[in-house]
C-alpha cells in the first residue's frame, strides 16, 4: 500500500512541493497566463520573462495539490536559463511521459528531477495536476513570441 503511494509521492516531489522554487510573481515579464484545472479547481498564474532567446525567469502563483505545486517548481528549475529552443525537447519529453499511461520510460538526462512524475502518469486523475504549469508555460511562450513578432 505505501509502496504504491511512495511511487507517486517520491521524495523529490514532496521536497519540491515544500520548497516551491521560483514561486511568486515577478517583473519584468512579456506574458502572463492563468490556467485552471476545471475538474479540481487547481490554478496557476504564470509569468514568463524572455531575454532575447533565453528564458530568463518563470514566476508563478499557484494553488493546488502537492503534485501540481511540485511540478511547477521542478519545471522552473529545469527551464530557467535555457534557450527557448532548448526548452522544447524537455517540454515534449515531459508531455510524452505524462500521456504515456506509465508505459513511457523517461530519459533522466533530459528530464532530470521531472522523472519523479512517472508515478503520477499511471494515475489518470493526477496527470492534469502534473501538466498544469507545463501547459501554462507553453501558452505563455506562444503569447510572448506572438507579441515580439507583432
Amino acid at each position: 500500500m505505501s509502496t504504491e503511494l511512495d511511487s507517486l509521492y517520491q521524495d523529490i516531489i514532496l521536497d519540491h512541493a515544500k520548497r516551491r522554487l521560483n514561486a511568486g510573481l515577478r517583473e519584468p515579464f512579456e506574458a502572463e497566463v492563468h490556467h485552471v484545472n476545471p475538474t479540481c479547481g487547481d490554478e496557476v498564474t504564470l509569468r514568463l520573462h524572455l531575454e532575447g532567446d533565453v528564458v530568463r525567469d518563470i514566476s508563478y502563483d499557484n494553488q493546488g495539490c502537492s503534485i501540481s505545486t511540485a511540478s511547477a517548481s521542478v519545471m522552473t528549475e529545469l527551464l530557467v536559463g535555457k534557450t527557448v529552443a532548448e526548452t522544447q525537447p524537455i517540454h515534449d519529453a515531459f508531455l510524452e511521459m505524462m500521456r504515456g499511461k506509465g508505459q513511457v520510460e523517461p530519459d533522466e538526462d533530459v528530464l532530470e528531477d521531472a522523472i519523479a512524475f512517472a508515478g503520477a502518469a499511471k494515475l489518470t486523475a493526477r496527470i492534469k495536476c502534473a501538466l498544469l504549469s507545463w501547459m501554462a508555460f507553453q501558452d505563455a511562450l506562444v503569447r510572448a513570441q506572438e507579441d515580439s513578432d507583432a
Binding site: 500500500m1 505505501s2 504504491e4 503511494l5 507517486l8 509521492y9 514532496l14 475538474t39 479540481c40 479547481g41 487547481d42 490554478e43 494553488q63 493546488g64 495539490c65 502537492s66 503534485i67 494515475l123 493526477r126 495536476c129
Partner: protein, 418 residues
Amino acid sequence: MEGLLPELDVIRKDFPILERRLDNGQQLVYLDSANTSQKPQVVIDTMVDHLERHNANIARAMHQLGAESTEAFEAARDKVAAFIGAPSRDEVIFTKNATESLNLVANTLAWATGELAIGAGDEVVITEMEHHSNIVPWQLLTQRKGATLRWFGLTDDGQLDLSNLDQLINEKTKVVSLTWVSNMLGTINPVTQIARRAHEVGAIVVVDASQAVPQLPVDVTASGADLLAFTGHKVVGPTGIGVLWGKRAVLDQLPPFHGGGEMIETVRMDVSTYAGIPHKFEAGTPPIVEAIGLGAAVDYLGHIGMKAIHAHEQAITAYALEGLATVPGLTVLGPLDATQRGGAISFELEGVHPHDIAQVLDSRGIAVRAGHHCAKPAHARFGVQSSTRMSSYLYTTPTEIDALVEGLEYTRSYFKLG
C-alpha cells in the same frame, strides 16, 4: 449506537458492490454517496429483467412488449409520486438528472409569458451555497432577460444569512431557487420559511432537493416548493434519470422545453398543440429502463423508511463529526450539530491538499471526494479553494467512519505533520 438502522448487516448485503475488493486487495470503504449512491440488487435486477423480458419503446408500440414497457414506466412515475407525496402523478416529470430539471425550469421561464414572464427590473434570488447547476442556469436566465441575480450570503457557521430576508426577497422577486440540503456544507435550509416569504411577494420557489430526497422524508406540498428537482442516482437508482416535480398550476403555465415526439397533441406543418403534463415536458424516447430502475429504488427506500434512514444518517454523521474532531489540524466546513445537517461533511486538513488526502485514503480503499464539489462560490466564501468530503448513506457503518479517521491520521503521518 442509537439511531442506526436495526438490520444494517442485512441492508449491506443488498448492495453487492460493498463486498468488492479493490485492486490492492483492500476492502472498499465507500464514503462518496453524496456524489453517487451505490445500487441495491433489487434495482439492478429490475433493470436487467426489464431489458431481458419487457424491452420496447413506450406509449407507441402496439404490441404486448410495448404495453408492458409502458406500464412499467408509468408505474415508476406512480412510485416516485408516492415517495415524494406529490398530489398528482402527472406532476412528476422524468428528466435526465437534476441539472436538466433545473435547466428545464430556467429555460422555460425565459420563454414564459403572462404572470411567470421575467424581464428587466425583475429579480431572481439564489444562495451562495448552491451547486453550480443551481447557479449557472439562473445566471443565463437573468443575463438573457436583463433581470438581476441576487443571493443569500452565508454565516460563518455555514447557515444561510437570513438577516436581510425581507429585503432580498421583495416585490421585484420573480423566482427564489435554493438547495434544501447543501452538497458541500451539509446545511439543511429552512425551505418552508423562505418559501413563505417568496409567496408573500408572488415569487415562485424552486428547490434543488438532490441531497434532500436521499436523506429526508420529503413531502413536496409541505416543503413550500412550487418546483422541486432531484436526481435518481443519489437515491440508490441509476444514472440518466432525474425528476422535476411541479405544482400543476405552475407547470401548466410554463411553455414546452424540448419539442419532439410524445410532447404533442397534434402536429401540422404550420403549428402544433401540446400534450398536457407530464408528457408536455418529455419529448423523445425517455430513459425507460432508468425510470423503471428509479421506481424500484424509491420502493426500496420506502420499505426501509425515510424516517429510519434519516435517523441512521444523523447517527453516523454525529459519530463522524466526533471522530473528525480528534484529528489534529482538521476543520469541518459547515454546521457542527448533526441534527442540523445532512450526511455530507467537507473538511480541511491543515498542511495537506485535499487531492493528496484522497489519494492516500484511496490507497487504503477509502473512497471520498476531493475538490470544489461543484460549489466554487461556497468554497470561496470560506476562503478555501477545495476541500475533502466524506458522505455516508444508509449502508454506512461506524467501523467505516473509524477507518476514515485512522486513514486521516495515517495521511498526517505520511506527510510528516507530526
